[in-house]
């Protein structure tokens, strides 16, 4: 069965990008329609692809991109359940984000450029999802990086935005280095970068583990895992729809997708999976604790994203491949929902500080309801999407015998529920804490309708993988990985901690029952958490400051020693030249005379010594 519509899924947004780069400035507000139309076409084709895959299609469309000797780089479109799922998620979230942006970005002076970047960002991600080989994946991976850089720094007039963009780009590059080394190792040992061939090959476990861990470094960077998570909270400087796109479907999902896609490779070196699980767990727990203290609505959501990504990695790491992918799927919806909801709130009150909000429930019904749906999904309350997938992951950890990881997961779930509802209670309930959002009102339809759609998905997406539907999703994604039997203990525990968390949040923030400060702000633990475990400072002192010192030393060395040598040579040459220039009289006749003398000498020499008679 031919599937030549697949390239169109990527090509249409790229065309939209080219068009908008050329005409975006002239068209202004109208450029949104081009981009949205493009992404809707992609969405339609993606749904068709998904249906085809459900109908049993699994195909590759390949083009030869470059041939270097015996090394052929193909450019292709791989369609299988995992990529089909991702296609739909990416294009759907992208479409909704773009529609939402029509309201959110209304009147921005670089409107056309914004949509151009969104188009290309989406296209890069789609290309990454489609990649049948690591070369294409790496290229698309970097494309995602570049356009995330452009979008995070979209308001580059703001110094913090441009700094955040640089930080995001550079931190992810650290991870990319590992990825690149992994690819080189792969090529050296296997001679190919085609996934199908690679996965069918045999690798020594140690080698596979090394390669996998290096590759995982890439994912650590892109998916903001410990210890390279520091860029993501700062990336909140970008426009909120961009945050939604980054966090839900495109950028951070790329890392998880990489691990999921390369899962056969990881399985060849089991140690790497342990590594993934540990990193995921640390990330999940650490980010959750930081989220407890964050007061910026987007920062809270950002840390929750990191935490959830940690969950996904944990799931993948403990062997629950389908659960990890499933969580990626559900998370995309409710996290996009939460971010767009946050965007709606910010749009209304022009502030990001949660303690300046409050009582928005009365003014923004749609936003509030959908946001609460998203919060419930995130907190893991049944029957919302997040419950099912998170439960699967915990179950996977439990059944695979990772007890410590399991308990930390449970604890993290508790924290998640707590900080999510802390956010909800502070923002939407109680009294308005600052008077400057008296004018707050519900957002326009272009913003609220995407919220409703996402709310629907956040409510229902989880059911696809629930036991009620016989774990249809897992069966679809990973037919080999049979779904675990329901464990009432795990499920009950998870529901319990979610409810406990919500209750605690209600007690603390929904009522005045508890005193203002249970934990003093000077408590060292609080300080540690509020300062994000001093990670940024650590980087500052361990990496950046020494680098600066080294750079200054190198600069001095260059200025004094290297430049000294170079300038010395130049001065010597100049001195020699100014001595020799006396020979250059500027009179042609003078030169001609010396030519003549030279000629005479040459003739005599040739007669005398060459023996010409």
């Amino acid at each position: 069965m031919l599937a030549y519509y697949l390239p169109l899924i990527v090509l249409v947004p790229i065309l939209s990008f080219i068009t908008l780069v050329i005409f975006g400035k002239r068209w202004g507000g109208k450029s949104a329609y081009v981009s949205i139309a493009a992404v809707l076409i992609s969405l339609g084709l993606s749904i068709k692809a998904l249906i085809d895959v459900l109908g049993g299609l699994s195909t590759k469309v390949l083009f030869t991109w470059a041939s270097i000797g015996s090394f052929h780089i193909t450019f292709g479109f791989l369609l299988d359940p995992l990529s089909a799922m991702m296609l739909v998620v990416v294009t759907l979230v992208s479409a909704l984000v773009q529609i939402f942006s029509m309201g959110y970005m209304h009147g921005d002076k670089r409107y056309g450029w914004f949509y151009a970047c969104l188009s290309m960002f989406t296209a890069s991600m789609l290309l990454l999802v489609f990649a049948p080989n690591y070369v294409q994946m790496y290229m698309a991976w970097e494309g995602v990086g570049v356009f995330s850089y452009l979008l995070i720094g979209f308001w580059f007039e703001k110094r913090s935005a441009s700094q955040a963009a640089k930080k995001a780009f550079m931190v992810t590059r650290v991870g990319d280095l590992g990825f690149a080394i992994a690819l080189i190792l792969l090529y050296v040992h296997a001679g190919t970068l085609d996934m199908g061939k690679l996965f069918a090959m045999h690798f020594a476990p140690a080698l596979a583990a090394t390669i996998s861990i290096l590759m995982f470094f890439g994912a650590v960077g892109k998916s903001a895992q410990f210890p390279l998570h520091v860029w993501l909270p700062d990336a909140m400087e970008g426009p909120t729809p961009v945050s939604a796109l980054i966090h839900a479907a495109t950028m951070v999902a790329a890392g998880v997708y990489l691990v999921a896609r390369s899962y056969p490779l990881f399985e060849k070196g089991p140690a790497s999976l342990e590594f993934v699980a540990v990193i995921g767990t640390i990330t999940a727990f650490m980010a959750a604790t930081i989220a407890l203290t964050a007061t910026d609505i987007k920062k809270v959501l950002a840390y929750s994203t990191i935490s959830q990504l940690g969950y996904m990695m944990m799931g993948l790491g403990v062997g629950a491949f389908a659960a990890g992918a499933f969580h990626l799927f559900t998370h995309a919806f409710f996290k996009a929902l939460l971010f767009l909801g946050a965007g709606s709130v910010i749009h209304a009150v022009h502030s990001q500080e949660i303690f300046e909000m409050g009582g928005l429930w009365k003014k923004m019904k749609i936003t509030s309801i959908t946001f609460i749906i998203g919060g419930l999904a995130l907190a893991g309350v049944p029957p919302f999407a997040g419950f099912w997938s998170k439960d699967e992951i915990l179950l996977g950890a439990y059944t695979s015998g990772h007890t410590v990881i399991f308990w930390i997961g449970i604890l993290t779930a508790l924290l998640t529920a707590f900080y999510t509802f802390r956010l909800i209670f502070v923002v939407f309930f109680g009294q308005p804490r600052a008077d400057h959002h008296g004018h707050a009102h519900e957002s326009p339809a272009v913003m609220s309708i995407p919220l409703l759609i996402l709310g629907f998905f956040a409510l229902t997406a989880g059911l696809l993988g629930s036991p009620f539907m016989h774990n249809a999703f897992q069966g679809f994604i990973a037919p080999g990985h049979e779904a675990e039997a329901i464990n009432p203990l795990v499920m009950g525990l998870s529901v319990a901690v979610a409810l406990i968390g919500i209750t605690a949040a209600w007690l603390k923030y929904g009522t005045q029952l508890l005193p203002e400060n249970i934990i003093g702000k000077n408590n060292p633990v609080y300080k540690l958490v509020a300062n994000k475990y001093y990670m940024d400072e650590l980087y500052q002192y361990v990496l950046i400051t020494p680098t600066h010192v080294l750079a200054r030393f190198v600069l001095k060395f260059d200025q004094i020693v290297v430049d000294g040598i170079v300038n010395g040579v130049a001065k010597a040459t100049a001195a020699f030249g100014s001595g020799m220039k006396r020979l250059q009289t500027g009179y042609v006749q003078n030169y001609a005379l010396f030519m003549l003398v030279g000629l005479i000498i040459l003739i005599i020499w040739s007669f005398r010594f060459l023996g010409i008679h």
């Binding site: 009179y587 003549l596 003398v597 005479i600």
Partner: protein, 168 residues
């Protein structure tokens, strides 16, 4: 007897040639120098006739006397520095130059007299004009074409260089 008249012609031409060449480089009046140059060209044409190269001789007259000399005279008249030009260059290399050139000429002459040149007694072709034409179109077609391009370039180049900038 026929030989005598040939000798007379040769020496006469040589004498005139050398005298006019000397005159060219010593006359302070450029117009006179140009006249002597014309004379020298005619004498050289005479040498060509003596050497049975009638086409080259005619061409010498045609190109040099009819063309080059006229152009030179034009140029001289336009620079309006015809008479009493300063002759000796400010560069102080007079003695050395004359020594070097004398040495060079002596070297050439010694070579010419000492080297035994193989002289052939083959017949001279009758109609050189058509032979030259054929050679231009066969063996020498590339130089011929290159030469035509060169002449065109020289023509355009001379016009471009010498044209006065038209000021508005």
């Amino acid at each position: 007897m026929n030989d005598i008249i040939t000798y007379i012609i040769f020496f006469g031409l040589s004498a005139v040639a050398i005298i006019s060449a000397l005159a060219i480089i010593t006359r302070r009046n450029l117009f006179h120098a140009a006249m002597f140059l014309g004379l020298l060209m005619l004498v050289v044409a005479g040498f060509y006739f003596l050497l049975d190269a009638d086409l080259v001789g005619i061409m010498q007259v045609f190109v040099y006397v009819g063309g080059v000399i006229v152009v030179l005279l034009f140029g001289i008249m336009m620079t309006s520095q015809m008479t009493n030009v300063r002759m000796v260059s400010a560069i102080k290399q007079k003695v050395f130059t004359i020594l070097a050139v004398a040495g060079f000429v002596a070297l050439l002459v010694s070579v010419f007299t000492k080297v035994n040149l193989s002289v052939s007694n083959a017949a001279v072709p009758k109609d050189t004009t058509s032979l030259v034409g054929k050679l231009f179109m066969t063996n020498y077609i590339l130089p011929f074409e290159v030469m035509s391009v060169l002449l065109l370039a020289a023509l355009i180049g001379a016009i471009v260089i010498a044209r006065q900038e038209v000021k508005q």
